[in-house]
């Protein structure tokens, strides 16, 4: 099963490689991993999307907690939560394709950020599956390049993860 794991860790060089190293050393799967500093400048927050059965997820959470740089770990899959991802996608757009891309971007509530006579760059945010759906909808229109951030997640409600 897919899990989104949030990790608060010391904002120090090397902390990221400890987490990445743990996943590769123990053979855990990483679907996406994203990290940036938080409002508390001593902490950064990492969001990891992984897959595994309950026993593996339990081990992942325990092993993350064991890392000295890791301050807090939460499997937000266990609580109601919001998930968002950002995608920038550059599509070939000539002739009829220009209208088609424009229309699809409207439907998916994306934005066109860059236009040339043969391409569009579209920005799209939403849960991962919605970004996947957009790519599918684009269908035969050639994708020149794309970049995705990987998922971010927060639990719903007034309570949050802090030190």
């Amino acid at each position: 099963m897919r899990h989104i794991i949030s990790v608060l860790m010391e904002n120090e060089s090397g902390a990221l490689s400890r987490v990445a190293g743990l996943f590769s050393a123990r053979g855990y799967n990483i679907e996406s991993l994203t990290v940036a500093p938080t409002n508390d400048e001593t902490l950064s927050r990492m969001t990891i999307v992984t897959r595994g059965d309950d026993q593996i997820i339990e081990q992942i959470v325990k092993q993350l907690n064991k890392l000295i740089d890791v301050v807090k770990v939460q499997d937000i899959q266990e609580t109601p939560h919001i998930e968002r991802e950002l995608m920038l996608i550059k599509l070939q757009a000539t002739g009829e394709q220009r209208d088609e891309v424009f229309r699809l971007t409207e439907i998916f509530r994306g934005q066109i950020l860059d236009v040339t006579d043969s391409s569009y760059v579209v920005q799209m945010t939403g849960p991962g599956h919605r970004l996947d759906a957009f790519i599918e909808a684009v269908g035969s229109i050639p994708v020149i390049e794309m970049a995705r951030t990987g998922a971010l997640g927060l639990s719903r409600g007034a309570r949050g993860m802090h030190v």
């Binding site: 400890r18 026993q55 000295i68 740089d69």
Partner: protein, 580 residues
């Protein structure tokens, strides 16, 4: 590089020291009495500061791997943190095997590695290697010190992390410019340290402990299974009281030996791949398994699908990640084993509860029946020395009271099987990583800590050659340990597996071109003995141990075809043992 920092008014009350001096002062503050190391360019400032004091001794090894194993042996025997100092680049990479060895067995160790000056890091400088990156997967934690003012705090953290919770090695990487004698800063050693992300659990959860007591007392066929955690947690006394109080059978892992007296009736021997018949059968048929400070390693469990099929399991461990990692348990308790055992006994006493004596008596008669098989018997020979016999005689000659280190292979198993340990911290071997070359330097580390104690290294002609250069260190620091080499002219454990599982194709397990170990020992300034007749074994051992102030290398020519029994083949259940 910075010059001498300007003195501020408040600094007149504190000392101004260089980074190198601060590091040495930190070691003194931590009560470190000996550092095992090897100098080199990046640590010369530190060596200069070490040279100018006499509180912290330094042992010059012959290879950095030796330094880590010595510190490791010292730590295992004393329970204190072992300390290593090596230079950058090859000094640090040579230490990695020893760091990984300590990591796998959770041994408290602090390893200081030199590093090229900060401004050169990343430039592929001479003797530069990414120590932090290389050691990351085999340390509890590691630090790169980037400011001389951070040394004291970092050292304090390193010792705290290494020795608390589930212990382990910590690496502190120190760039050369940080120890510059010309840069002096105020020194004050922190009294306490707090890490917001590290709070090891001490006391177990009361509700869980109560549940565990209920389950333990409901047992009709109980087994107590303990590991290295009891030795590391200094909980041998509590374990002994607990086990005697319950009158339950107890088995121990390779790492746990000595935590409960092996000569006691309730001890049914080691379990696992080369465990006793009674221990493994007891595990297989028990209805309640009480696992304490053990981690359900694959050499212990055999095939997980066949492991303890009828048991409900209580597991006490200080490391939550060890619980339900390999085997799902019914009552997990995170806490220090000593604290948890004491609390369990308090509850039993307070509530006046005891086990079901009738069922336990019936269980014991079953266990005695298994024990009656005498699975450890071996065939005697008048012609060729049986390795088991050497270990038995070693036990007799040392009164069962020696510190015994071992290398890795058949001799390690025979030492574990035929030298019953009645005290903890006496049996010192690389269980997790299985590092050949561990035994001799580890023995020297033990002898450093306990100069008056008898220290024997049980080894083989394969393993001993992996760190034999430390015979030179032994002479320099007068460390008269006894080397008991079971020389069967084979990489014995490899040969045994090839005999069993590769139809006797002995690929590269035959040791051709062996040196003359007697002459080798003599050339290092020690005493060498060659023993090739069973009748001479005891006499040689007695003579060797009489030479109290000499290192004696005993080259026992043992039966080349002897195998370690019993054996649970890989993939089998604990009840599917190969007996002699």
């Amino acid at each position: 590089m910075r010059g001498v920092c300007p003195r501020r008014p408040w600094e007149s009350f504190v000392e101004l020291l260089s980074g190198a001096e601060i590091l040495v002062r930190c070691l003194q503050e931590e009560g470190v009495d000996v550092v095992f190391g090897y100098p080199g360019g990046a640590v010369l400032h530190i060596y200069d500061a070490l040279f100018q004091q006499d509180k912290v001794k330094h042992v010059l090894v012959r290879h950095e791997q030796g330094a880590t194993h010595m510190a490791d042996g010292y730590a295992r025997a004393t329970g204190r943190t072992g300390v290593v100092l090596v230079t950058s680049g090859p000094g640090a990479t040579n230490a990695v095997t020893g760091i990984a060895t300590a990591y796998m067995d959770s041994i408290p160790m602090v390893v200081f590695t030199g590093q090229v000056p900060l401004q050169l890091i990343g430039n592929d400088a001479f003797q530069e290697v990414d120590n932090i990156g290389i050691t990351r997967p085999c340390v509890k934690h590691n630090f790169l010190v980037k400011d001389v003012r951070d040394i004291a705090d970092t050292v304090k953290k390193a010792f705290y992390l290494a020795s608390t919770g589930r212990p382990g090695p910590v690496v502190v990487d120190i760039p050369k410019n940080i120890t510059d004698p010309k840069v002096k800063v105020p020194f004050e050693y922190p009294k306490e340290i707090a890490l917001r992300s590290y709070n090891p659990t001490v006391k177990g959860h009361t509700g869980q402990i109560k549940k565990a007591v209920d389950l333990i007392l409901s047992a009709k066929r109980p087994m107590i299974y303990t590991g290295g955690g009891v030795v590391l947690g200094r909980a041998s006394e509590q374990l002994t009281q607990f086990t005697r109080k319950l009158n339950y059978p107890i088995t121990q892992t390779l790492m746990g030996l000595g935590a409960y007296p092996a000569s006691d009736r309730q001890f049914v021997g080691m379990l696992g791949m080369h465990g006793t018949y009674e221990a493994n059968m007891g595990m297989h048929h028990c209805d309640v398994l009480i696992a304490i400070g053990a981690r359900f390693d694959d050499r212990v469990t055999g095939n997980l699908e066949k492991f303890c099929p009828t048991a409900r399991i209580v597991h006490v461990d200080v490391d939550p990640a060890s619980i339900s990692k390999n085997v799902k348990v019914d009552v997990p308790i995170v806490g220090q084993v000593g604290e948890v055992l004491t609390e369990m006994m308090r509850i039993m006493e307070h509530e006046g509860r005891a086990p079901d004596a009738e069922s336990i008596a019936a269980w014991w008669s079953q266990i005695e029946e298994w024990r009656g098989l005498d699975c450890m018997k071996y065939q005697w020979s008048d012609e060729v020395i049986k390795p088991q016999y050497v270990v038995q005689k070693l036990w007799e000659v040392t009164g069962g009271d020696a510190y015994v280190t071992s290398d890795v292979g058949q001799h390690q198993m025979w030492a574990a099987q035929y030298y019953p340990f009645d005290k903890p911290n006496r049996w010192i071997n690389s269980g997790g990583l299985g590092t050949m070359g561990f035994g001799l330097p580890a023995a020297l580390g033990v002898k450093m800590a306990f100069p008056e104690a008898e220290v024997a290294c049980v080894t083989g002609e394969g393993s001993i050659q992996m760190n034999i250069q430390e015979l030179s260190t032994a002479l320099q620091y007068h460390l008269p340990v006894k080397v008991v080499s079971l020389n069967n002219r084979y990489l014995g454990m490899v040969r045994q597996w090839q005999e069993f599982f590769y139809s006797g194709r002995y690929a590269m397990s035959y040791m051709e071109a062996l040196p003359d170990f007697v002459k080798l020992a003599e050339s290092y300034g020690h005493v060498g003995m060659l023993i090739d007749k069973p009748a001479d074994v005891e006499g040689a051992l007695r003579e060797a141990f009489k030479l109290r102030d000499r290192l004696v290398f005993m080259d026992f020519r043992t039966d080349p075809t002897e195998n370690v029994y019993p054996m649970v083949p890989a993939g089998a259940g604990l009840n599917e043992m190969i007996l002699v």
